[in-house]
């Protein structure tokens, strides 16, 4: 097990876990999950292949109501 930071909160992941797996574990199967990993946006098409590494800082965002 290793630890990543998701929106500033610690989250345990296992070696080989991908962004897609993390989103699933967080219950975010919504149409639009927006992900940034260590300051770089992650393309939606690559969620299933980008593997997490210990110490990664992730931002998970999404569209919300707004003007």
């Amino acid at each position: 097990m290793s630890t990543v930071l998701v929106n500033g909160r610690e989250q345990q992941v296992e070696a080989g876990d991908t962004v897609a797996l993390l989103l699933e574990r967080l219950g975010l199967e919504s149409r639009y999950a927006l992900v940034e990993r260590n300051g770089e946006p992650v393309e939606r098409a690559r969620f299933g292949e980008v593997e997490l590494a210990s110490g990664d800082r992730l931002v998970v965002a999404r569209p919300v109501a707004g003007g």
Partner: protein
């Protein structure tokens, strides 16, 4: 000939764009969008709160309506660019309502940072719709930078005060070669009509509809206001006169 609005090569039958903020529920927002006839709505981008994830707003937006993510909450060009790239990577359209707002009392946009972000985002392939103070010189610079529209505010966001900056917007309309979208501050359908009569290509409305007693009825009212104002613009308004001009014959009275 059908009167369509074209932004960056995409045609819209409606000249009313809606913001999705401040509705009592997403269902109410969806009904208002449908009643308004809008074909484009804005959404904001925020971090997910894992303790209260809530519903996915995109599932409440009708399929054929274009989602326009905004960069609200961004105070610098760098923050706006970051937000736009995050939205695009995650699958939102490559269109961005660019707002860079460092001031929380009047929510006025920073022209220097907005222009800086616009240049970066246009170069990066985005269709950029910048929110701005109605400054005709800045509008030209944003246009030259490749922005798809210019979006001057009528009055501060959410204020409902109407076309307070009317004269500057009129000059922008006269000089702009991209669509002018009056965004923010409109409080009533009559004000939306006034903006369209002035020559705006479209208006963007949020608070005046979302916070009305009946948002769905108000959405329809704005639709009619925008249509009336546009029709009047195309029909050609009379010129104002200082004194009265009789409508009935002056001679031959009994």
């Amino acid at each position: 000939m059908q009167d369509t609005l074209t932004i960056a090569g995409r045609s819209f039958g409606s000249r009313l764009i809606l913001g999705t903020g401040k509705y009592e529920s997403f269902a109410n927002m969806r009904d208002a969008v449908v009643a308004s006839g809008a074909e484009m709505v804005t959404v904001a981008v925020r971090r997910v709160d894992f303790d209260a994830p809530g519903e996915d707003i995109t599932t409440f937006v009708p399929e054929d309506v274009l989602l326009l993510p905004n960069t609200s909450g961004c105070e610098t060009a760098d923050e706006a660019v970051r937000t736009a790239r995050l939205a695009r990577a995650g699958g939102l359209p490559e269109w961005i309502k660019l707002e860079v707002i460092p001031d929380s009392r009047y929510l006025l946009p920073d022209p220097v940072e907005t222009l800086k972000a616009a240049k970066i985002l246009v170069d990066d392939g985005f269709t950029v719709l910048p929110y701005m103070l109605p400054d005709p010189v800045l509008a030209k610079k944003l246009e030259e930078a490749g922005c798809a529209t210019v979006m001057p505010l009528a009055a501060p966001i959410g204020s409902g005060r109407g076309l307070k900056l009317r004269d500057a917007i009129r000059i922008m309309v006269e000089e702009a070669e991209v669509p002018v979208v009056v965004d923010a501050g409109l409080g009533a359908p009559s004000q939306a009509a006034e903006a369209m009569e002035l020559g705006a290509d479209a208006v963007l409305v949020n608070t005046a509809i979302a916070r009305a007693e009946d948002p769905v009825k108000m959405a329809r009212a704005f639709r009619l206001g925008v249509e009336a104002g546009r029709a009047a613009r195309l029909a050609g308004l009379i010129e104002e006169q200082e004194a009265a001009m009789p409508s009935s014959p002056v001679g031959g009275t009994v």
